[in-house]
Symmetry: C2
Subunit: 134 residues, 2 copies
Amino acid sequence: MKIGELASAAATKVETVRYYEKIGLLPPPARTSANYRAYGNDHLARLSFIRRARDLGFTLEAVRELLTLSDDKAQSCDAVDGIARVHLTEIDRKIADLSALRGELDRVIGSCRHGTVADCKIIETLAPRTLTAT
Amino acid sequence: MKIGELASAAATKVETVRYYEKIGLLPPPARTSANYRAYGNDHLARLSFIRRARDLGFTLEAVRELLTLSDDKAQSCDAVDGIARVHLTEIDRKIADLSALRGELDRVIGSCRHGTVADCKIIETLAPRTLTAT
DNA sequence: TGTACACCCTGTAGCAACTACAGGGTCAAG
DNA sequence: CTTGACCCTGTAGTTGCTACAGGGTGTACA
């Protein structure tokens, strides 16, 4: 199949496919006489794998590791589990960070009295207290 | 004050200060005879403002708008409030996305039976069902 | 007076993970 | 035979910095 068919079959973009090939995530396929890339089902499987892993938030580096691991069927699954667990920890940290931020921002917004900028509590919160009076 | 002093006073890096100047967030300061940047307290206030806004997760574009608004003291605070509310909505969306992701990832990890990669449920989840048998 | 060292300058390249061109070639339908 | 959809390579842009390379400056100490 051609690159456009592959891309739409895996719900990615043509440019992304070429990008994955360039960074070595997707092996270079055969070429037609017109120099078009010609993909098989193995390429589609690999690309779909990448996409699903990306959807789950894995970095391309993590995807690369997962692909390497998945190629060695006899190996223990623990390394895969480890990567997933590290990723889960990172997601938890991000959620915690964002929640803290949300709280602070909510507090700041709640202080808005809808007056002029001169009395704006939001601006005031952002400006350092010691230098507010210019 | 020199760029190093400004940077440490605002808990940023020298390169970041120069970067903010380059993209027009921080006005170019006067120069000494040796061509060193010479900053005043107004620069420190502005840089601190930028930093605090960034800490709250505002993009540089949002910071640029907030700075413009904060320069016009007579204006209504509502525009500022609006930017902050939009930002809050975005944070809420990000938290929701991450939570959904966390759930899915947790489920995937929970399915790990610690066998070989061939039976790995995590890999299986990533691989498309229709193509798992190669 | 020399020199070592911390600091400053400009400009460019790199990071993630793509996306969007520009400027061409190919192929099937009408 | 030409229109349009697709393909090719290569490069530059995105966000928000960070890290050089290759220089100049200022001060402290021997």
